[in-house]
């Protein structure tokens, strides 16, 4: 069995282009959540999100396409299989089509974006869209690692993107899931999430091929787990059993136990139910508190991108031996005391856990090492 290694990755976030820029801002405790000026938010009861500066809305190109074309991968082999992970993709094309009454909604289909991304990277291998709500890119990383370990592929490119659009904003507003003050994951007074947008890519290879091609190895995908709560369309199961199942599956795949984990990059959306559910799950799996943080108080919830974004950042945290604070916390929730990191912290470890959950009760966990 060939190990799956991460050989290249980059992201564009509201902090700008690049993992290092994002890591620096996170470690300094900055937040990119700010008033939205892309569309009218006056009737939504929340007016903030983490958006990328300089993108044009309802013009020539979709928001996610403008993000994706900012990325400049170094050397993507054209035989790499492509997994495109997203929730709504180019839904702003659909908005524009309906607003202009031109009925060209089919151009917003995820399959259309897949073809465009395939051409953008000059690929010739297999290509698929993978969508599993806010675990989309986490699931894609797990599937890519499995395809490499089973020797069905020896290079897989994962591309992910989601944008803050009126479509998504009004939807989350209708669910009363947005915190008017901005997301405060694991805070006692948290009221909801903030939407964010981002795009990124990650190239996984078999370790054999990476070494043969003299690629830098950024890290390993040691294990992955996916599960479903079978409970509710928008809310998590409060007992955390579903996420705990995903974490245990990831540990089993990685052939490690919970003591091997140095820190947890949690989903931490800032909704009351998600954060409470995650703490329940962690307490089921870990016998003692582990350093835990969420980046969503800084970057917002980037939906299908969250898993890849947090995995890319986790590799940076492992490399720099520093973990960031969970930003925007005033008072840690009682459930999370002893777990949540509120100041930048030196932390030298080899292995970390990332978790994500989403609509439909989906849960995902990755075990990442450097």
């Amino acid at each position: 069995m060939s190990k799956a290694v991460i050989v290249d990755s980059d992201i564009v976030t509201p902090f700008g282009l690049g993992i290092e820029k994002c890591w620096t801002n996170l470690c300094e405790g900055h937040s990119a959540i700010k008033p939205v000026d892309r569309f009218d938010v006056s009737s939504f009861g929340c007016s903030v999100a983490a958006t990328i500066e300089g993108l044009t809305y309802h013009k020539d190109f979709s928001l996610v396409w403008q993000m994706l074309t900012q990325l400049s991968p170094k050397a993507i082999p054209n035989d790499a299989a492509l997994l495109l992970a997203t929730t709504t993709g180019e839904v702003d094309i659909l908005e524009q089509a309906i607003l202009e009454d031109n009925k060209q909604c089919s151009e917003s289909q995820l399959s259309e974006l897949l073809k465009k991304v395939y051409d953008l990277y000059g690929l010739q291998g297999k290509a698929s869209v993978v969508s599993s709500a806010c675990t989309s890119s986490t699931a894609a990383i797990g599937l890519a690692a499995a395809s490499i370990e089973s020797e069905n592929e020896d290079a897989v490119l994962i591309v992910t993107c989601d944008a803050v659009t009126e479509f998504v904003f009004t939807g989350f507003s209708s669910l009363m899931a947005l915190d008017p003050e901005g997301a405060r994951p694991f805070d006692a007074e948290r009221q909801g999430l903030s939407l964010g947008e981002a795009a990124g890519y990650m190239l996984l290879m078999s370790e054999d091929r990476a070494r043969r091609e003299h690629r830098s190895i950024l890290g390993y995908v040691l294990g992955w787990g996916l599960s479903n709560d079978a409970n509710h369309m928008t809310g998590p199961a409060r007992d955390g059993d579903g996420l705990a199942r995903a974490i245990r599956l990831a540990f089993n795949n990685a052939e490690i136990d919970s003591d091997s984990i140095g820190f947890i990059c949690a989903h931490g959306t800032g909704t009351r139910y998600n954060d409470a559910m995650e703490m329940q799950a962690f307490k089921q799996v870990f016998s003692q508190p582990h350093c835990t943080f969420s980046v969503k108080g800084a970057l917002g919830h980037t939906l299908g991108v969250a898993g890849l974004l947090e995995t890319a950042l986790t590799l940076q945290f492992l490399k720099m031996k520093t973990i960031p604070p969970s930003s925007r916390i005033n008072k840690i929730d009682d459930d999370a005391k002893g777990w949540i990191v509120t100041n930048k912290k030196s932390h030298d470890c080899q292995v970390a856990l990332t978790t994500n959950s989403g609509f439909g009760g989906v849960n995902a966990a990755l075990v990442i090492s450097r």
Binding site: D40, S43, A81, T87, T88, L94, E95, I98, L99, C105, S106, S108, Q109, L110, S111, L114, K115, Y118, K126, A127, S128, V129, V130, S131, S132, A133, A139, G142, L143, A146, S147, S150, N152, F167, T170, G171, F172, S173, S174, L175, W224, G225, L226, S227, N228, D229, A230, N231, H232, M233, T234, G242, R245, L249, N252, N253, F359, G360, G361, V362
Partner: protein
């Protein structure tokens, strides 16, 4: 290699099963909700079934037929099932409905009950809740038509013990098919497809061939 344990299918005229070789004409029935009740397809009333989109209603019927065909009925077995939805158009119709409704309402408030169907994984999420499936839940749309990518995904889920069984939901404009699969040695060897409607048999054949290739 995967083994097909059961198949449920539905088109505009009939529904049926694979191993049991059943086929029922339902073209003159009033609604899928009544059909489910009158033909005793569901073990209990499904909350909001009448409000589900037609696609989700059909998915429920194909799924329950597949489970019965495979003989998977107890809750412990159902917990071990993962779900894969394969559909070329995703949720574009739901997206249009949601956004048009929001505009028609004066662009002030949208409806949460429409928003939750704006993910391509939403129909199988509804099924997971009702049937109690606790394995992975994924929507996949591959660029080529060979089914190789989809079957590779299924095998990845099974081989890494994410689920013991995978329910593959093929969602098309003209039919729906649900297949229960697990790791096996001889894909569909005990499965005679000749009595199935042509497009359903074609799906099962593609899965069999893809499984033999991977």
């Amino acid at each position: 290699m995967i083994d097909i344990l059961g198949l449920g299918w539905l088109n505009d005229q009939c529904y049926g099963q694979g191993r049991n070789r059943s086929q029922v004409d339902y073209a003159n029935r009033v609604s899928l909700e009544r059909l489910g009740f009158e033909d005793n397809l569901f073990r209990e009333t499904i909350k909001n079934f009448g409000r589900f989109e037609a696609l989700t209603q059909k998915l429920f019927i194909a799924t329950t037929l597949a489970l019965r065909d495979a003989g998977l009925t107890n809750s412990e077995q159902l917990h071990e099932i993962g779900l894969l939805a394969i559909n070329k158009t995703g949720c574009i119709a739901s997206n249009q409905r949601f956004f048009q409704d929001y505009l028609d309402g004066g662009r002030k408030l949208s409806r949460a009950n429409l928003f939750i169907y704006t993910l391509p994984s939403s129909p199988i999420a509804e099924a997971a809740i009702y049937f109690g499936f606790r394995g992975p839940l994924l929507y996949i749309d591959a660029m080529d038509e060979s089914m190789n990518s989809e079957i590779q995904t299924v095998e990845n889920l099974l081989q890494t013990a994410q689920a013991k069984f995978v329910l593959i939901n093929l969602i098309d404009e003209f039919y729906q098919a649900a297949l229960i699969v697990r790791i096996g040695k001889a894909a569909t060897e005990h499965f005679n497809m000749s009595f199935l409607p042509e497009n359903i048999a074609e799906c099962a054949k593609k899965i069999k061939e893809a499984s033999e290739r991977t």
